[in-house]
């Protein structure tokens, strides 16, 4: 019974840890160069402004602005990639006019986005400058909250696992009360008796942790496969989720976490059993 209960706890812990790792990966991906990124939309990019294409004019203004690390006009193809999730792919181009889009990267802490926005609007009327900073703050907050939830879930799962081990140990002590009293009477120390119990409990908890980790593996692989496009982690050339290549989608940290689960449950089993037995033995002189 104990290994199965511990396996269930380990399974939940694996899910919580996967959530933590996943959110961390997504947040890191979103935040790549985060706070210092801007998107500039230029409506009618090929229209003329001061004898120059409006998009080129906007680029010139950006390149003349100190503190702008890079400004890159998205090509039609890049734009199409960006819009595909919402407007679909396919070569028949949309009939609605698309604005030109410039991805801007600012040197850290240099230019003031508001000032830059007004300069652009003066030079090329109609441009919209969107700072990612606000969104990044909101996403960071969300990611942080999700990570905190994952850690909380992990702590609760660990506490429940410890409680399960303590209850099982107490039941074992009650069932072997007479044998323990005999061994105690023969001069066994608390440590000797606790080690006997903890050794068995540690093994059972480790088996439980192993079962839980193995049960969690397919679920995590499926989740990782679903998350991969968002985290840009789907390896090149893996078209369908089958075979060994699938294993590559699982984030590296999870390959450390999963083998650590049996060790963690074993540690919880050992420490809880030791504590429970030693406290119980205090009733004997």
């Amino acid at each position: 019974m104990l290994p199965l209960l511990v396996a269930a706890m380990a399974f939940l812990a694996a899910l919580a840890l996967a959530g933590e790792v996943g959110v961390r990966a997504l947040a890191a991906h979103w935040q790549e160069g985060a706070g210092s990124a801007l998107t500039v939309q230029v409506p009618r990019p090929n229209g003329e402004e001061n004898g120059q294409a409006r998009i080129d004019r906007a680029l010139d203004v950006l390149r003349d602005t100190p503190g702008v690390a890079s400004a890159h006009a998205l090509s039609d193809r890049e734009l199409a990639d960006l819009l595909r999730p919402w407007l679909g792919g396919g070569d028949e181009r949309l009939s609605i006019p698309l604005p030109g889009v410039i991805a801007v990267r600012l040197a850290p802490g240099a230019a003031d986005p508001e000032q830059l926005a007004s300069r652009l609007a003066t030079a090329v009327p109609g441009t919209l400058t969107e700072s990612h900073g606000v969104w990044m703050q909101r996403l960071s907050l969300l990611a942080g909250s999700l990570q905190a939830c994952a850690w909380l879930a992990l702590a609760v799962v660990a506490a429940v696992a410890a409680a399960v081990v303590a209850i099982a140990t107490r039941a074992g002590l009650a069932a072997r009360r007479e044998a323990i009293e005999i061994v105690h009477g023969l001069g066994a120390t608390d440590g000797y008796i606790a080690n006997r119990f903890a050794g068995r409990t540690t093994a059972l908890a480790a088996v439980g942790g192993l079962l839980g980790a193995l049960a969690a593996l397919p679920v995590l692989l499926a989740l990782a496969w679903l998350v991969a496009p968002f985290a840009a982690a789907r390896p090149e050339g893996v078209a369908d989720p089958s075979g060994l290549a699938l294993l590559a989608v699982l984030p590296g940290p999870l390959w450390l976490v999963l083998p650590a689960l049996p060790m963690a449950t074993a540690a919880i089993g050992f420490l809880t059993a030791q504590g429970t037995v030693r406290r119980w033995l205090r009733r004997l002189p």
């Binding site: 005999i182 009477g185 023969l186 001069g187 066994a188 120390t189 205090r282 002189p285």
Partner: protein
Amino acid sequence: MVQLESVGLQYHPAGADRPGPEVLHDVSFAVPRGGFRWLLGPSGAGKSSLLRLLHLAVRPTSGRLTVMGTEVAHAERRALPALRRRIGMVFQEFRLLPHLSAYDNVALPLRIAGRPEGQIRADVTAMLHWVGLEKAGETRPAELSGGEQQRVAIARAVVNRPDLLLADEPTGNLDDTQAERLMVLLAELNRLGTTVIVATHNDTLVARHPGAALRLDSGRLFARD
């Protein structure tokens, strides 16, 4: 070896906020190293409680109990296991571990003391031979007769060469021949220097093996002779 000065004992029943009645009252005596004592008295006189005190299974509630130089009432809890390992105890109901073979039951005190397996094998084999059970090593207690179980219990009590051997009605489950054989074993241990205290109400046995006696009645010590 053992010294009691005005020792009293009350049990604290589990869950009760007041201690139970006093099962031993104002008991004083001393047994020197290598001594032998019968512990006599009717059932309920407190013989078993006195042996439990001497075996450090309970601590006295009053008075002063000194066992092998350690004052028991105030000794640190962690000091007691080492002391218990120097005391052998034979219970009336044997108290063998049912899931262990006779060999492993006898080996238990040595394993608890952390002796090397090689020495354990030699000692346990010799001990089983001494009690006439050299062929019963792999047998579990349930498959042994009462007398054989008693001999396993005695082998377990003395395998560690205790300085103090306590026996509570050790002949209660034995016929006369086996009881006689047990007394010979105890006398031999005593001759080899072990302090021995035997609680019994088997008067024939005491008559055949006269020795100094402690007489208990209603928790009080009536005679030391």
